[in-house]
Amino acid sequence: MKSIIILFLFALAVSSCLKKKNEEPSANNPLSPTNSGEIITTMKIYIKDSVSGNYIIGSPFIFKDADGDGGNIGTYLPLAVDSLITLNDSTTYLAELFLLDETKNPVDTISNEVVEEGQDHMFFFEQTNPVGNPYSTILSGSGIEITYLDLDANNRGIGQQFKIRTNSNTAGNQHPFTITLRHQPGAKDGTFPPGETDVEVRFKVKVN
């Protein structure tokens, strides 16, 4: 009887220790940040005149947070502090958004995955719910109209590509232009509330 129990305990002792996996590095050799999981470091907006096809001055407008959320703060490029996008009145522009992980080599274009999983993602402008078909929204107080140019598998807008239309009444002040990427797995209904925020960058827009 007792020898059985002793054997049993011994077997337990030998067999069941938690194993340290080989993957575990030594303490003095931490994982470098480039080895960490996917992060989004950069948002780029390319804006071109829909008629001439010329990119406007300052395009692409960039917000770069080199180490992702947390860590060091992000900055606007190319003009370090100025997040202002300047447009002409009564003009239609075509715009395209890119999200990048620049810690990877080669750079990982996250926005491609966003479009691929379009039924789970949606970009919002000034956090407003777009209306109509195709989706469009008017930036509050500015008269600037944003129209979604892309569709997901359920025929809902994604917003990676969009049209900006200004009119003669829109000239004047700066207006906030916040771009938010919402992750809404299984819950996307074209409105802002479901899901959670993946990216939120605050630009400003002004019409001359």
């Binding site: 129990i5 575990e24 992702g68 995955e113 960058v201």
Partner: protein, 795 residues
């Protein structure tokens, strides 16, 4: 639980150690009897006097513990070796006599009149049986110590460890939803509390507010809370106190016994089974073993109005122990593993501050309509903890012992984000987003000596080597931490009072490794300092004892306070450490008055802790701009602080078998430098309960019915600009508990039913980190069954 419950159980050796040699009726005692003879009219007014002397040299043996099992009473002999037990009813009593250096022993005494007994104790070990006595809880520390009662442990069975500790006044919990709970002593938690699991300091990732202790409470037979600085004995971090979990001592009788527990909960539809089996052998005396295991599974918890998606949990733990004890030495081996998977409420995982604000504004959280399920998806925590321990003790003389303890702990903490990355084709979904591995190796030496000219003491040294690595995202750095310390405690023990002085010196070497702007940083920090404790126990009467401690302790900053730099998804905030943070020092005063007679049991504790350089999280003025939007930033800073308060617990048998208990606490945490309150401090609270104990019958034993009302006030003492949402309002909760023990053959099967929040009250608690998102859980009824069993018994 008898006050001697932790002693090595013995049988059949009553006459080996000592014998009552005679009833010495001197003239004095004869006169004494005559004088008191008139008082005998009341049948419960007998006095038992005794004197204990050393058999070898005839010296009186002071500070010998004499306890009377039947009335759950114990006293000490004075410096003449005498003791006195008053107000005894006529009857047979079992006296247990304990003196260090001698086996503890029982003797039957028949009391029909005032009685005098003399004991001669052979004060040498060679006359003892070959199996010796170890571990004795035979004197109280000078600190305020609260042993959690067995009924309270039973009631908390299947819940978290922190829930079991809440029955001690002054202990609250810091919760992350319903399944993650950290104990708080006097408003302090995490690194300021030491948890000693089976004598080993629990080492995991204590820095996280959502990191609960990785311990199976079923392993512990005794759970106690040391309130106030316990640094000298247990290590410099124990500024706020210590939590001690001890398994039952291994058996020494040739039998195989065990216990089976089954517990069910209505909320979360959770079930727990836990078993323990232990034995020792007749042929190899002194050899004993134990195996123990627990499994627990629960599903989505429910608030009064909705289920909380992804709040299930699964836990599997086991441990075993082997012990071998001989005359002058003993060796013990202990091994345990803890595994848990805890779902984190998915509605509390948010993207940024905008999400948090809208979560708080909405009446019901996202994911609140979820139905019941046992499925645990993302986000979740996956934790494993392994402990290996060996302990050895050797007698270094008639009245002294040396203990050597070595332990190894390995802790894996994996946390999975709510979503897998967008680039999911190349993504390994089994890979955790946060992944820490911490390995701790400790060695402790302690040498203790029993009474030598009224002095008894303990001397010790300890060393720890600890390494931490991260495999996922960076939040805290890799580090190697080497700590050593040495302490000395001496106590002067007299009949009416005891004085203790203890001092400790510690050094800590912290070498951290992390990347900053893609450059490897490897800062090296060294901390060293002294902790001192003076304790005083004053025992003017048998009923009233006063425990007072004056101490100073310190704590080296932890890695997260120095180097953390990252975003917390649950709280939408960025926390930043500061490598310039210095050690914090605490000066504390704590005093407890303890009164106990036949009908009243009362403990009142008052304390005040003054901190120089209290490390805390302070909100920054400017939010930080990230790709996810703006986040508030919290910086680790130091301030001078004062935390003081009063805890009380009073139990009165106001009618026969009917008890009223009132317990509660007042606490004030002040930031002295900024003339403000401290954040995350428990608000004042009070709990009253009414218990009726039923008469014992042939079938039923220890039967009681109890109802309780808890009232928690609103915490309005909060620092300005430090929170996203105002503290929730105060609330009251109603609970009940019914339990009995049914005699079946020789076993006593325990059953019980208890309920919490029985009125299904909607409330949120200030110390629940999920209060921003969801209500606290609603009614939960617990059913418990306890079956002790004997597989084999020589007798």
């Amino acid at each position: 639980m008898s006050p001697l419950g932790a002693t090595w159980p013995r049988s059949g050796s009553i006459n080996k150690c000592f014998a009552p040699i005679r009833m010495r009726k001197t003239i004095q005692t004869f006169l004494f009897f005559l004088l008191l003879a008139n008082g005998f009219a009341q049948e419960c007014n007998f006095t038992l006097l005794g004197k204990i002397t050393d058999k070898d040299d005839g010296e009186p043996l002071e500070f010998t513990i004499v306890s009377v099992k039947e009335i759950n009473f114990s006293t000490n002999s004075n410096d003449k070796g005498e003791f006195k037990i008053e107000k005894l009813c006529a009857g047979d009593y079992t006296l247990r006599i304990i003196h260090l250096g001698c086996a503890d022993t029982s003797i039957k005494v028949s009391v029909t009149k005032n009685t005098l007994v003399n004991f001669k104790l052979p004060h040498s070990l060679h006359e003892l049986a070959d199996v010796e006595i170890v571990e004795r809880v035979d004197y109280k520390p000078t600190q305020t110590i609260d042993n959690i009662k067995q009924e309270e442990i039973d009631k908390a069975k299947g819940k978290t460890l922190a829930d079991a500790l809440k029955s001690s006044s002054g202990v609250t919990t810091l919760n992350t939803g319903a399944t993650i709970s950290k104990p708080m002593i006097h408003g302090m938690q995490g690194y300021r509390i030491l948890i000693l699991n089976n004598g080993i300091r629990q080492e995991g990732q204590q820095w996280g507010n959502e990191h609960a202790p990785e311990i199976d409470p079923f392993m512990a037979k005794n759970i106690s809370v040391v309130k106030g600085a316990a640094s000298v004995r247990y290590g410099s971090d124990a500024i706020a106190g210590a939590i001690l979990l001890e398994p039952e001592t291994l058996p020494d009788t040739a039998a195989i016994t065990g216990e089976f527990n089954a517990i069910g909960f209505t909320n979360g539809r959770a079930g727990v089974v836990s078993g323990i089996m232990q034995g020792s052998f007749e042929k190899i005396r002194g050899f004993a073993w134990r195996v123990q295991g627990t499994m627990k599974q629960g599903g989505n918890m429910k608030t009064p109005e909705y289920y909380l998606k992804n709040t299930g949990m699964l836990e599997k733990n086991f441990s075993y122990a082997l012990g071998y004890h001989r005359k002058k030495l003993g060796v013990e081996f202990f091994y345990s593993q803890f595994h848990s998977t805890i779902g984190v409420f998915s509605g509390a995982h948010i993207g940024n501050l905008t999400d948090l604000t809208s979560a708080f504004a909405s009446a019901k959280p996202q994911d609140s309509l979820a139905a019941f399920s046992y499925y645990i998806g993302r986000p979740k925590q996956n934790i494993a903890h392994e402990l290996v321990k060996t302990k050895m003790h050797i007698h270094t003389g008639l009245r002294s012992r040396l203990y050597v303890t070595a332990a190894y702990q390995y802790n894996i903490r994996k946390e999975f984000d709510k979503h897998i990355p967008k680039n999911s084709t190349s993504y390994d979904t089994t890979k955790a987003d946060l992944d820490y591995r911490i390995t701790s190796k400790t060695i402790d030496l302690a040498w203790e000596h029993d009474n030598i000219n009224s002095f008894r003491g303990t001397y010790g040294a300890s060393y720890m080597n600890q390494t931490n690595v991260y495999l996922g995202r960076y939040l805290i750095p890799n580090f190697e931490n080497n700590t050593w310390g040495a302490f000395a405690i001496e106590r002067y023990v007299k009949h009416k009072y005891e004085l203790e002085l203890g001092a400790r010196y510690d050094e800590k070497y912290l070498h951290s490794y992390y990347y900053s702007n893609n450059v490897l940083q490897s800062p090296f920090l060294k901390f060293k300092n002294v902790s001192v404790n003076t304790g005083w126990i004053y025992k003017p009467t048998q009923q009233f004892h006063l425990f007072t401690n004056l101490s100073t302790a310190w704590r080296a900053p932890a890695v997260n306070e120095l180097y953390s730099n990252g975003l917390h998804h649950g709280s939408a905030s960025i926390e930043k450490g500061d490598e310039k943070i210095k050690q914090e020092r605490c000066y504390s005063f704590i005093t407890t008055g303890s009164f106990k007679n036949e009908r009243i049991e009362a403990d009142v504790t008052a304390y005040s802790n003054y901190f120089k350089g209290f490390i805390y999280l302070s909100p920054g003025t400017e939010p930080e701009l990230t790709i996810k939007g703006a986040f508030p930033v919290f910086y680790y800073k130091q301030t001078d602080a004062l935390i003081s308060g009063i805890d009380y617990k009073i139990n009165v048998e106001f009618m026969k078998n009917t008890f009223v208990q009132v317990k509660g606490m007042f606490l004030r945490g002040q930031d002295l430098s900024n003339n403000d309150w401290l954040v995350w401090m428990p608000s004042d609270r009070v709990e009253a309960s009414l218990t009726y104990k039923l008469k014992e019958t042939k079938k039923l034993k220890s039967t009681y019915v109890s109802a309780s009302l808890e009232y928690v006030t609103k915490q309005w003492r909060i620092p300005q600009n430090s929170d996203y949402a105002p503290p929730p309002k105060g609330y009251y909760l109603i609970g009940f508990d019914v339990a009995t023990k049914i005699k079946v053959k020789n076993q006593e099967i325990g059953i019980g039913v208890s309920g919490s929040n029985v009125t299904n009250k909607i409330y949120r608690d200030y110390l629940d980190r999920f209060r921003y998102y969801t209500d606290a859980v609603g009614t939960n009824i617990q059913f418990r069954l306890n079956v002790p069993f004997t597989v084999f018994d020589k007798k």
